[in-house]
């Protein structure tokens, strides 16, 4: 395994101080690694991602990136520390144009913002095609492209993604997951929450199973896919629920 980029150490956190949803959760993500969080509803997967992104109050424990402590930093300053966050569903500005979304996201880039925007258009040609369109008018897959482009534009070290394939057709979902795989091959680390656990595990290097706000299990993506117990309890359950 490569060197650790994100280190989550015994984090207890929740939306309101004193009412934790996570109870001492630990996890790590290596450089260029894709790590997926799986578990039943209410397990605290999204909460953990939001805790890293700075949206959730951390009662105790610590979160560090490349050895620097980033616990409790406000969400709007996370980007300075190389963290990008793609929220679930509402992850683009629907009332702004496609290009306007990117211009806004590019404000975090120190210099040559136009080049950063151009780079995203190179990476996602459909976005260039629709750059004048209101982002609300994009198709589901294109929305995820735009959301991911907004996250990547400032060259983050860590991308946090909350259910990037929610609401997409299986084919488009597969494309988005492939896209995430490509991101990671550029030495960007990815922490992912995914409903579609089986598909996500296939592109993941490692995964953590959470239940009731606690670490339950961890392993490589392949090992978890093959684990009969995990398969029965989580993946099967997920298959039924998402069917």
């Amino acid at each position: 395994m490569s060197e650790t980029r994100l280190h989550i150490d015994a984090v207890t956190a929740g939306y309101k101080p004193g009412f934790p949803i996570l109870h001492g959760v630990s996890a790590s993500v290596g450089v260029g690694e894709i790590v997926t969080l799986i578990g039943p509803n209410g397990a605290g997967k999204s909460t953990l991602v939001k805790a890293v992104a700075g949206f959730v109050h951390v009662d105790s424990g610590s979160i560090s990136l490349d050895g620097r402590d980033i616990t409790g930093i406000s969400p709007d300053r996370m980007t300075e520390h190389g963290v990008a966050y793609v929220p679930q569903t509402d992850n683009i500005f629907r009332t702004l144009g496609v290009e306007q979304n990117l211009v806004l996201a590019a404000q975090r880039v120190e210099r040559d913002r136009n080049r950063a925007i151009d780079a995203m258009f190179e990476l996602f040609p459909p976005l260039r095609e629709h750059k004048g369109l209101r982002a609300g008018g994009l198709s589901g897959g294109q929305r995820q492209m735009l959301a991911i482009a907004m996250a990547l534009i400032a060259g983050p070290q860590l991308v946090l993604m909350d259910e990037p394939t929610a609401g997409l057709s299986p084919k488009v979902a597969q494309e988005v997951l492939q896209l995430i795989r490509n991101i990671a091959s550029d030495n960007v680390s990815v922490l992912l929450v995914e409903q579609n656990a089986k598909a996500a595990l296939r592109i993941s290097d490692r995964a953590y199973v959470l239940a009731e706000g606690r670490n339950q299990h961890e392993g490589t993506g392949a090992a978890l896919l093959d684990d009969p117990v995990i398969g029965e309890i989580y993946l099967g359950a997920w298959r039924r629920e998402s069917a």
Partner: protein, 334 residues
């Protein structure tokens, strides 16, 4: 001495009438979390309805129904309720601050209506000539004013006891549940919009009762009596007393009304002559400061609410649903 006592009776009559209106507001805001920016309208509707229904014939103007006093005051209560029903139905399903704007608008619209529709409501000069109940039978003015104070206190006690029983009943718990978490209340199978509307109308009817008593007290009503400042005074009384607490509402009324009367007296007596024109201005500033400073320094008032359904500390928070605008995180954990 008799002068002081008779003033005290006068003061208490006014204060107790206002306290009834404050109790009506407490049902709406304190118990249900409904914002009413037009207390003066519902108070005024009751006052005008009483005096027109129970008053003498006015040549060329609406009136001459000569209803008996209890019927006339009931008429005022009903008119206020109907007004609230109309406003409530239009705004019930909308964001709460629409109700704030709409109710504030009702008060402005009603004031402009009674000020201008002379043939209906007497215009700027108001409606005079109301014969107060039993006034002819009780010749002595002091005895009469004592009797009237008694009537007001009976009404106040009736409303107080009724509301105390109401807020402790299952319906009262439902009101607080809706105030604190509308979604959860909906999950219980109750229609929050409907329950809120009931509370809003009932509160407005109580304000209508207060308005009717007020019109009886002065045997006269004019557009001056339903200006927006009345709404702000009644708010200040509830906020100082403590929203959600009926006892606090009554004490808050005495404190704020006492302060209002005392500041008016002091300004009239001590302020230089060329400042006399600005007495009202200074009193308005005081009411504004009382509202703002109480909300900042003692948001739960002098007598905080005793009944709660959860860990919440009063209407409107701190336990509140996630507001997107207030930098909350939104969404659910998975």
């Amino acid at each position: 001495m008799i002068g002081l006592i008779s003033y005290l009776v006068f003061f208490l009559s006014g204060a107790m009438i206002l306290a009834i209106a404050v109790l009506g507001l407490n049902l709406q805001w304190g118990n249900t979390g409904i914002f009413n920016g037009g207390v003066a309208a519902f108070f005024g509707a009751g006052a005008y309805a009483l005096i027109i229904l129970g008053g003498p014939d006015r040549p060329g103007e609406l009136g001459g129904f000569s209803l008996s006093y209890p019927l006339a005051i009931l008429g005022g209560i009903i008119v206020s309720g109907v007004l609230a029903l109309v406003v409530g139905i239009v705004t019930a399903r909308l964001r709460h601050d629409y109700l704030a704007i709409a109710t504030f608008g009702v008060a402005i619209a009603l004031e402009s209506l009674v000020r201008n529709a002379e043939y209906l409501f007497g215009g700027a000069k108001g409606v005079r000539g109301f014969q107060r109940p039993l006034e002819a039978a009780i010749a002595d003015p002091f005895t009469y004013s004592l009797m009237f104070l008694g009537l007001v206190i009976v009404c106040l006690l009736g409303v107080y006891i009724g509301l105390e029983r109401l807020v402790r009943s299952p319906f009262g718990r439902l009101l607080r549940a809706i105030r604190e978490d509308e979604t959860a209340a909906r999950a219980l199978g109750k229609s929050p919009a409907n329950v809120r509307l009931q509370s809003f109308v009932l509160g407005a009817m109580i304000m209508g009762l207060a308005g009717g008593l007020y019109a009886t007290f002065y045997a006269f009503v004019s557009p001056q009596d339903i200006r927006p400042i009345l709404t702000f005074q009644i708010w200040a009384m509830l906020i100082v007393g403590g929203a959600g607490n009926n006892k606090g509402a009554i004490i808050g009324t005495l404190i704020v009304w006492g302060g209002w009367v005392a500041s008016g007296w002091a300004l009239a007596k001590f302020a230089p002559a060329d400042w006399q024109l600005y007495t009202g201005t200074i009193q308005y500033i005081l009411i504004g400061l009382v509202i703002v400073l109480t909300l900042l320094a003692r948001p739960r008032g002098l007598f905080p609410e005793e009944l709660t359904v959860s860990t919440a500390t009063g209407p409107d928070g701190p336990v509140k649903p996630p507001e997107r605008g207030t930098v909350s995180t939104g969404g659910q954990q998975s």
